[in-house]
């Protein structure tokens, strides 16, 4: 029964597309009350939308992801961030599904965010960009699928912040989804999670080049702060075991310590590289906005409102965690399962064994991929509740 033999095919070359959603007459109304118009969205699609327009799957990306989830942009050696997961014969099988992935609101990879130009001032928004929530991100996703002529998704799928979007989407608009897949996510950040976010933001905002968020006008960037934020976050994406086996206490050059403050251990060099590489592709203000959206995320927080919404929820969920993930450890996923189940929502859950920490959701782990593939194959006909049940 177990399908652990996933064949690997590539989608090939893809291009990022753009859509302009919302306008001044019908702007995006944010949860905080502010409005935005227009909203540019960068997105990619893989596979073919069928004639009934009912085979679409939406991929929600994590904190620093982008629309380029699968295929490649000309160099097959540098595929999208979830290429091992999306493609012909892969868990999200493009032979069957039409896959949509979009950069999220507040991001910096083509979708409107704090680095976009404010039409009112013709300057980058900076910190004048309104605070966005995960619900707001979902609002833009919904506008995009409407733009593509899709009214119902076979599934929304996401890891980490992507999984949080899926949970929010299911609670805000269950009618949009036939199924939900949530991997290594949370229904609310813990104090420790928020603490890490807070320190990352402090590193950015205390960088002398931050200029209150208007660093573009000052023709500079808070690179030191953003790199430190990324380095610290990266530690939380790996596990102690993963770091031990990958780096141990090995030195960068030779076996003799240099006894100085320069990069000496391999793990330092690795983090440095991660920090520097991040600067080339990410905007510091986006990092502030998106981590803040995560901090405030708490869809089960108001128990009465959550209960009312969950009472209407009748779509199957697949929730998964990884045993070495300490950013959002299994207790976070189990809390989602517990609340969904308490409200009679059909939910499948599994903790997958992997030494790779939070990043496991981006890796090929046969048990994990097989579970998603098997679940998606049944999204349409899932008999979790028969039609004549009360």
């Amino acid at each position: 029964m177990a399908n652990t033999d996933i064949e690997h095919g590539s989608i090939g070359e893809v291009v990022t597309q753009r859509a302009t959603l919302f306008d001044r007459d019908a702007p995006l109304l944010l949860e905080g009350g502010a409005t935005l118009a227009p909203v540019e969205v960068a997105f990619e699609t893989y596979g073919e939308l069928n004639a009934q327009r009912d085979n679409a799957v939406f991929i929600c990306h994590g904190l620093t992801g982008d629309a380029h989830a699968a295929g490649h942009h000309g160099n097959p050696a540098r595929p999208g961030w979830w290429d091992n997961f999306i493609g012909p014969g892969k868990p999200v099988d493009t032979n069957e599904f039409f896959v949509v992935c979009a950069n999220i609101l507040g991001g910096c990879m083509g979708t409107t965010g704090p680095s976009s130009i404010d039409p009112a001032t013709h300057k980058a928004y900076g910190l004048r960009f309104p605070l966005v929530t995960v619900s707001d991100v979902v609002r833009v996703h919904r506008a995009l699928i409407a733009h593509l002529g899709i009214t119902k998704l076979r599934a929304a799928i996401g890891g980490s912040l992507g999984g949080m979007q899926v949970l929010q989407w299911a609670m805000d608009h269950p009618e949009d989804l036939a199924a939900a897949v949530i991997v290594c996510a949370t229904s609310r950040l813990s104090a420790q999670n928020i603490a890490f976010s807070a320190v990352a933001r402090e590193a950015i905002m205390r960088d002398p080049n931050f200029h209150g968020g208007d660093y573009v006008d000052a023709d500079t960037r808070p690179d030191a702060g953003l790199a430190i934020a990324r380095m610290m976050a990266h530690i939380t994406y790996l596990s102690e075991e993963g770091m031990r086996s990958k780096f141990g206490r090995r030195l960068q050059n030779g076996t003799t310590p240099r006894f100085g403050f320069d990069v000496d251990f391999q793990v330092e060099s690795y983090l440095h590289h991660q920090g520097e590489a991040f600067l080339r592709r990410f905007d510091a203000n986006s990092y502030l906005y998106l981590t803040r959206a995560m901090d405030y995320f708490d869809p089960f927080g108001n128990t009465e409102e959550a209960a009312a919404r969950l009472a209407d929820l009748d779509l199957p969920f697949l929730v998964m965690s990884f045993d070495s993930d300490w950013r959002f450890d299994t207790s976070h996923s189990r809390e989602i399962v517990r609340v969904l189940s308490a409200h009679r929502v059909p939910v499948s859950f599994r903790e997958i064994s992997s030494p790779h920490g939070h990043d496991s959701f981006l890796l090929v782990i046969p048990e994990y991929h097989a579970t998603v593939a098997n679940f998606l194959r049944r999204t349409e006909r899932a008999p979790h509740r028969s039609s004549h049940a009360s």
Binding site: M1, V347, E367, H384
Partner: protein, 206 residues
């Protein structure tokens, strides 16, 4: 489907929300969903069985029931089923207690180690009992807490619970014969019970 599962299926109210502990490949839940309009949720520790359930579209949580039913809140189900697994748990009393926390109706089936054949094997031959329902030798059996019908009923009473129904089963899993009906502790190969909390107010499936 195993014969005893058919019998258990008949004991579940139409339209109930059912938690099946150790649901295996989901055969019982499939039948309950299809034939009795139930809403099903499984718990299963085996990876292959987990995949089988997911492939059938049956909601399943990968967990060991000996770790407690922490994924489920109080009274979140109408019926909780534990089929031929109680005797294989590390702490049967705690498992029963947890079951009665998440639902006010439990259906529990188990192998009756009070059966005359098993008694005879131990008493006359001095060997640990094996039976068609529990064929493994003592060192290989998962049944680490064997009990008889009398033992189970005593546990239910001591936990402050009530046995509302008892169905005795033959070795084939079907209904037990005349002797099994008359003297179940000695002649039933297995038994299935409907257990309620004693303070239960009958409301039926919600």
């Amino acid at each position: 489907m195993r014969l005893d599962l058919g019998l258990i299926a008949d004991m579940v109210p139409i339209g109930a929300r059912v938690l099946d502990l150790g649901c295996g490949d989901g055969d019982l839940l499939s039948a309950l969903i299809r034939e009795r309009g139930c809403q099903g949720q499984g718990v299963e520790v085996s990876s292959d069985a987990f995949h089988a359930c997911v492939s059938k579209g049956i909601p399943v949580i990968a967990a060991d029931i000996d770790d407690g039913l922490t994924d489920f809140t109080d009274d979140s189900f109408d019926v909780v089923v534990l089929s031929q697994t109680l005797q294989a748990t590390r702490r049967p009393a705690r498992v029963l207690h947890e079951m009665m926390r998440v639902a006010d109706t439990a259906i529990v089936s188990f192998i009756n180690y009070g059966h005359i054949g098993l008694r005879t094997r131990l008493a006359v031959r001095g060997r640990m009992p094996v039976s068609p329902l529990a064929p493994e030798q003592w060192f290989a059996t998962p049944n680490i807490h064997p009990c008889s019908i009398l033992d189970f009923e005593q546990l239910v009473r001591s936990e402050g619970l009530v046995c509302a129904e008892r169905h005795v089963l033959g070795a084939d899993g079907g209904p037990g014969g005349r002797w099994a009906q008359r003297r179940p502790n000695a002649f039933a190969a297995a038994a299935a019970y409907v257990v309620h909390r004693s303070d239960r107010v009958r409301t039926g499936p919600r």
